[in-house]
Symmetry: C2
């Protein structure tokens, strides 16, 4: 079966997703994935180094895009509004894929410890990239990782809601999650953050 | 060399840390660790299933302790003050170990992708346990994971500062990190969280 380099990658990704969903990750080999995508095993390994990476294509591009979006946010924004601006500007990268395929990928990853660990490593890389980008905007080093992790918490919630078929659009999901983060620490609740010690 | 079951575990942990630091995780076998701890390889595998787990002992107890502390926080506290209360109440679990050993463990884990992934999985388990415990306190399901992830962000920062030899005590590090989280989203900065779109 002929196809451009990009077509082949996409075919391999869809084949992997199908086999990992139906048979399970552990019971599928790279050769099985190659066969379903109608390419040789050698072609598979020209595209992906192992069985995991086929589900994590585009990670480097995504990480760069997030870091660039943070760098390019309007000057003078505080850290969390910077992240909201950045996430909104790259929202199309998150939502360009078919939601049903993305949801299926999420289910396979959640059900497979080895893939789940890889997903967590990916999130950690993105968090580190955001931290560095914030530091380049002169956010102090004791604040930048805290802001990055809270930003990732917001992004994760918006993404899970989107995957679950929420009817709000993605920018609204992001803004609503940021608003909930703000309400979590709104001093008007009167409970503040002073240490509460047991008597 | 004789020793109680607990002594043997501690010896194995120290031996693993020493070898992973000096030779590297990849160039160390369970047999090497057993030899340095003066026990048989068979004894090693009675204590730990593989080379990674020797550095992650006590994870289940820690996860349970955090969840219990969340459950036992005073009624009526908002989610983040609940987490501050919970983290303060279990602070001794984090600081009972020798700081230098903990710092060495942290360095080995950070330098070894396979251990780093395992550490991220541990953090994800704790986050899930906190989320569930918050939901049992009637925190809504769209808020609980957000609060749990922000709480973990705070805990991570306090822990890294403690490992780095910060002179503040652990409760102060926690309270300061929570205060920084609050200042990140304080509406008095005037920047709020309404979506900011590019023109």
């Amino acid at each position: 079966m002929a196809g451009s380099r990009k077509d082949v990658r996409v075919r391999l990704q869809r084949a992997a997703l199908e086999l990992y969903s139906e048979r399970g990750f552990d019971r599928t080999t790279a050769a099985d994935v190659a066969a379903l995508a109608d390419v040789t095993e050698r072609t598979y390994f020209r595209h992906f180094p192992d069985k995991r990476e086929v589900l994590f294509d585009g990670e480097a591009a995504m990480t760069r895009a997030v870091a660039d979006a943070v760098a390019n946010a309007p000057a003078g924004l505080a850290p969390l509004p910077t992240l909201l601006d950045a996430f909104l500007s790259i929202a199309p990268m998150f939502t360009e894929h078919d939601r049903e395929l993305s949801e299926r990928r999420h289910r396979v990853i959640s059900a497979t410890p080895e893939l789940k660990e890889r997903e967590l490593a990916k999130i950690a890389h993105v968090t580190d990239a955001i931290t560095t980008a914030l530091e380049h905007r002169d956010v102090p080093p004791h604040i930048a990782p805290l802001a990055a992790m809270c930003g990732i918490a917001v992004l994760t919630r918006a993404r899970l809601e989107w995957l679950a078929g929420d009817t709000r659009d993605y920018p609204t999901l992001l803004a609503d999650a940021f608003a909930d983060l703000a309400s979590l620490v709104d001093p008007s609740t009167g409970q503040g953050f002073s240490p509460i010690r047991r008597s």
